[in-house]
Symmetry: C2
Subunit: 339 residues, 2 copies
DNA sequence: TTGAAAGCGCTAACAT
DNA sequence: ATGTTAGCGCTTTCAA
């Protein structure tokens, strides 16, 4: 406690009443007379008394804090989700504690321990690309702490979830490529242990089938980082059946693909159209600008918090819910325009 | 408190000893016998007892939490700083609570209140572009809470600080431009109420003078966002004394400048060299890649936490320190190579 | 060597 | 309408 911090006792002593009367007055308890309430409130105002949240927590067992675990905040998508989380959480009277897993399993486990040990009231998680064991998340549930997954979810646990309509988003992206003339579309895919990786691939495949294009396993390549794109895309461009469209699982991979295509002497979008996923800041600053699937990260963050706080504050065992956020195909310069 | 959470009382009861003995045993108090300590530790292990941080906080008055206020985490620089903060803080047994000011004064004030009301042990701040009144920060100090500014500092308050050697970084950038043949270098500057804006301008001017180039007020233009660059750079390119070099106050402005230059029909770096500041992720994915000044955000975060924790844990009134982090000119594709 | 009791700031059941 | 008391989980004198 910081020196000089006013407590309920100080107020009580000054007013010559008991601490509990002060407490009740502040909580607008019906027992307390209007005059007393007024006197108390005035002094509270004057002395700028603020209840100690620590003491409150000790009494209630609640910390009014929610924990968040994300892979990396450098990614535009996660930073927008975090903004959504922050805004709604603070508006709802909750604090937020962040941990980055840095895409490693060990850090993710450690983050869970950290949040658990600081007694957060609930936890929001987007898992790493490499998480295959979910024991640490089960521990959260065993502790009776509400858990909500967003974007990169875990299917093995019963929880609330907020997901992006990845399958439809991917379908829309590939449909756009097909409608603008692409006949040989490659999908640079994410890891298939992540649901989002699978769903985006499924959307890609559904679009090809829907428009009677041939699906070819050779056209689905695991490639979801800049580094991988640097190696893989030049190889693609050397194929005899060179792709005329690329649907990448994220913006960064898409952008690096564009760069590689240009470096190989081809034009984007004339020779090859490229579409990314996220519609982040970088998609606006490349040349050409990158057509991409908007994910509405801010809204995902808000919905996830809403679900979590609801779970924290209602005692009843509500059934688990999964909220799906619609995507939006944003056409920019890296894909040919219709017509 | 979550149901089933083991307390010191449970341990005591099971072992038929008193809670205070358990407490002392766990804190390795010399009074307690080795046998008792062993027995206590074994049961603690077995029952997975963890002391309640809330109770600890109430006793000690310390929350082992530090608060951080940054303008926006979507910016690469701030997200790297945050990573540094997080890593060192957690390793030192502290939790971290983030707030974004979104570059507005109101949000910044609110963030201070939020952190103060959650009783953090210390606060780390990088101020907004528009902050001109510092009463909210003074309040932090009045509460006796250690405060450390980083990057965007406040000069009106006596505090510890971690800053980037912006002046030298800017000097290096402009020196590089001069040495590679630029004769008419424009500086797209940041707001001059921020020390970093001033320092980068000063470094720009010092380099020009050092190399006997003419300094011209017309060549210093307040422009530190993509939007501004979209308007300002095309105008620059229409000047009769068209610039052959641009030193931008940040990467995003630099990148947008490159795009505008290209759109006006000129080549980067042949006609105009461009250098940014931050050396963030985007500087690697543009064409050409962006030459930029590396700021070492991760290290800034670590140093800031070090300073803060030191201040929190030492009772003595140490003199305030300012740590300066060296920058590094990273030459890439947007500036001509020497020779 | 161990235990009893008080207290951190607050609330709430139970007096008065 | 107001006060007393106990207790949240833990530490820390002080007493045994």
């Amino acid at each position: 406690m910081y020196k000089g911090q006013v407590t309920i006792k100080d107020i009580a002593k000054e007013l010559g009443i008991s601490p509990s009367t002060v407490s009740k007055a502040l909580n607008d308890h019906p027992d307390i007379s209007q005059v007393t309430k007024k006197v108390v409130r005035d002094l509270v105002e004057k002395w700028n008394y603020k209840p100690d949240p620590i003491a409150l927590s000790l009494k209630s067992g609640l910390t009014k804090t929610i924990g968040v675990i994300v892979p990396e905040i450098v990614h535009y998508f996660f930073s927008t989700v975090i903004s959504g989380i922050e805004d709604l959480a603070y508006d709802s009277g909750y604090h937020v504690m962040f941990c980055q897993s840095n895409e490693t399993y060990e850090r993710e486990v450690k983050a869970v321990q950290t949040l658990l040990s600081s007694r957060v009231d609930g936890i929001l998680v987007s898992i790493t690309k490499v998480t295959k064991d979910f024991g640490h998340f089960r521990k959260i549930q065993d502790n009776g702490i509400p858990l909500v997954f967003f974007d990169r979810i875990c299917n093995e646990l019963d929880t609330d979830r907020v997901i992006v309509d990845d399958e439809q988003g991917a379908f829309d992206a590939v449909e756009h490529l097909i409608k603008t003339g692409c006949k040989n579309i490659v999908h640079l895919s994410g890891p298939q242990n992540l649901q989002i990786g699978k769903n985006r691939k499924d959307g890609y495949l559904r679009a090809l089938r829907y428009y009677n294009q041939i699906t070819d396993e050779q056209n689905i390549i695991k490639c979801d980082t800049r580094e991988e794109a640097t190696i893989i895309v030049p190889e693609l461009m050397k194929r005899t059946n060179r792709p005329d469209g690329i649907f990448a699982v994220n913006d960064l991979t898409a952008v690096e693909s564009m760069n590689m295509i240009k470096e190989c002497g081809f034009n984007v979008p004339k020779d090859v159209s490229v579409v990314g996923f996220t519609n982040g800041m970088i998609s606006d600053i490349t040349c050409p600008t990158l057509s991409s699937v908007e994910q509405h990260g801010y809204m995902i963050g808000k919905e996830a918090v809403k679900l979590l706080i609801n779970r924290i504050e209602k005692k009843q065992n509500l059934p688990f819910r999964t909220i799906t956020i619609k995507t939006e195909m944003v056409i920019k310069g890296s894909s040919r325009n219709v017509g």
